[in-house]
């Protein structure tokens, strides 16, 4: 009666656990709302002679209008040119990963010999950093709206903010970058509210849908709402400081990394011509190396990024309960 062959008593025949060659991604914010027209891309600073780029803001084409003249021989009023500028400086952002030889021998669900493995990690890391930088400059517009500290954001607050921006002559589509909690409060408000024209609009129906990804909804035909958990806190952690802005409210830039024939590297985002010839640098570089003393593989990700707040009146910080 003691000679049965059970799984539970066959420790020399089976493993206590084996490894699924598929894996789950640990939770993280992987939304990268970087293509909205309200985000002003100043350009690639590679080869510009400086890692700082100044963008002029000029009062031209209707900023000043013709003045009245009393008589036909009255001298026209000399009018000064209104100008300002916004500076984007790109700086190195980097991360290093080390993978021990023993792990490479044993094998893991991640294929560390595959360049695509590294490229996927580096692309997400660089894009996430850029979103983090954009969110960090979006919270210091000198004008702010919202229900105030500790109160939940709602749809009316967003419309009010958009109206305030239009009063300030902000043109074009508006990008609204909120923390998921802020957007969730808007959704709950829309879902639970009754009455008013908005509840019966298609925008409201879409806004009520829980959606993944960073794009959430377009409200009132003009406000493109995105959410990111990288939106910073305000009032010592009690609130979140999102923002709504039009084109020129936030500026960002980057600098491509030259392809170095001496480097053993993976280059991401390299432009090429129709024949596949490389015509520029890489947005992200993954430089590979080995540490023979410790027997590990080294991968260093590099990107050069910069962001700044642009035209102050083109945006508003939105503070509401965290």
């Amino acid at each position: 009666m003691a000679n049965e062959i059970w799984y539970s008593n066959s420790g020399d025949l089976v493993l206590s656990e084996t490894l699924n060659q598929e894996f789950l991604l640990a939770l993280a914010d992987r939304g990268y709302p970087l293509n909205h027209p309200a985000l002003y891309y100043v350009g690639d600073l590679q080869g510009k002679g400086s890692l700082t780029l100044k963008t002029s803001e000029i009062g031209w084409m209707g900023y000043d209008i013709l003045a009245d003249v009393a008589n036909e021989d009255t001298v026209a009023t000399q009018t000064a040119l209104t100008d300002s500028s916004h500076t984007v400086t790109v700086a190195r952002k980097a991360m290093e990963r080390n993978v021990g030889q023993a792990l490479l021998i044993a094998g893991a669900p991640l294929n560390f010999s595959d360049p695509a493995t590294w490229a996927a990690d580096a692309a997400g890391a660089a894009a996430g950093k850029l979103v983090d930088m954009l969110a960090n400059v979006a919270d210091d517009f000198t004008n702010q709206t919202g229900p105030g500290s500790g109160a939940d954001l709602n749809e009316i607050d967003l419309v009010t903010t958009a109206v305030a921006l239009q009063v300030a002559n902000v043109q074009g589509r508006l990008m609204c970058l909120l923390h998921p909690q802020q957007w969730g409060d808007v959704q709950i408000d829309v879902t639970g509210s009754a009455g008013g024209a908005f509840q019966y609009s298609q925008d409201a129906q879409r806004a009520m849908l829980l959606s993944d990804g960073s794009y959430k909804a377009t409200l009132h035909g003009l406000i493109d709402v995105y959410s990111s958990s990288r939106v910073p806190t305000a009032n010592s952690g009690a609130d979140r400081a999102g923002a709504m802005f039009g084109r020129g409210g936030i500026l960002w830039g980057d600098a491509s990394i030259n392809v170095d024939p001496d480097a053993r590297a993976i280059y991401l985002g390299i432009p090429s011509d129709d024949e596949g010839n490389v015509t520029g640098g890489a947005k992200v570089m993954v430089e590979m190396d080995r540490n023979p003393h410790k027997a590990w593989k080294v991968a260093v990700y590099n990107a050069y990024l910069g962001a700044t707040k642009g035209i102050d009146a083109a945006g508003r910080t939105i503070i509401s309960d965290a």
């Binding site: 916004h86 700086a91 105030g148 109160a151 009754a194 910073p232 806190t233 952690g237 009690a238």
Partner: protein, 237 residues
């Protein structure tokens, strides 16, 4: 007779080995860091436009200037461009040690460190941040202390002015009226309306204290305009 609790002594010409104290591996430190994202150190900054009703009082709504290369024109180790840019916009940058001791605390984050206001409490293995706003050591007391600094102090925050208060009052009045009118359909709106009413009372009291148009302090000086004598006949002629 040998002691069974003692190891046998080495005999012969060999020297007795005392060995080294061996300690069992200590348990790995399992204290989990807070589940918060790393963020750079920062300076608080105040702008005359930014006010909020915090803890039932009108208090400045401070911004945070992150000290990170690549943000606001800052380069590696040189933040002067960022400071200049913010000051040009009318911000007052508040030094870390304005009240003695830094207002920034560095916490272990999921990777790296998170630099947070000293009034934020974080917990291991949790993403929840709990503000410490009330009380003599709270954030609100810090804001009050900034406002109480002598006017000559570089970090003094002057009282809110009409140009900031009037839009606030408009916003709160509209929000309060919309919430109040919706109570019949949605009872949840009652507490919201009451909250806006309370905040509006605070802002309106501040406006009344300024006489609805008193002297404007600070960098933004109220423009009284020039007196113009209108000569309608000349204009018509």
């Amino acid at each position: 007779m040998s002691n069974p609790l003692q190891p046998p002594r080495a005999v012969g010409r060999g020297v007795e080995s005392q060995g080294e104290v061996w300690e069992a591996p200590r348990p790995v430190d399992v204290a989990m860091p807070p589940k918060i994202e790393p963020c750079p150190p920062f300076f608080y900054m105040h702008h005359p436009n930014r006010w909020a009703v915090l803890g039932g009082k009108l208090r400045p709504s401070l911004g945070q200037l992150p000290l990170e290369p690549g943000l606001n024109g800052a380069s590696d180790g040189d933040f002067e461009v960022a400071f200049t840019q913010k000051r040009r916009e009318g911000w007052t940058i508040i030094p870390h040690d304005v009240m003695g001791g830094s207002y920034v605390r560095r916490h272990r984050a999921r990777r790296g460190h998170a630099h947070l206001p000293r009034w934020v409490r974080v917990f291991g293995n949790s993403s929840t941040m709990v503000p410490n706003n009330e009380g003599p050591d709270g954030y609100f007391a810090f804001l009050d202390a900034l406002m109480a600094l002598p006017e000559s102090h570089q970090s003094h925050i002057a009282p809110a002015e009409l140009h900031a208060l009037m839009p606030m009052a408009d916003y709160l009045r509209g929000a309060m009226e919309r919430s109040a009118s919706a109570i019949a359909k949605d009872p949840r709106m009652k507490s919201r309306a009451e909250r806006f009413r309370a905040d509006l009372d605070v802002v309106e009291a501040a406006i009344a204290a300024l006489g609805g148009g008193g002297e404007v302090l600070g960098d933004l000086v109220e423009s009284e305009g020039d007196s113009v004598a209108l000569d309608l006949e000349a204009t018509d002629g």
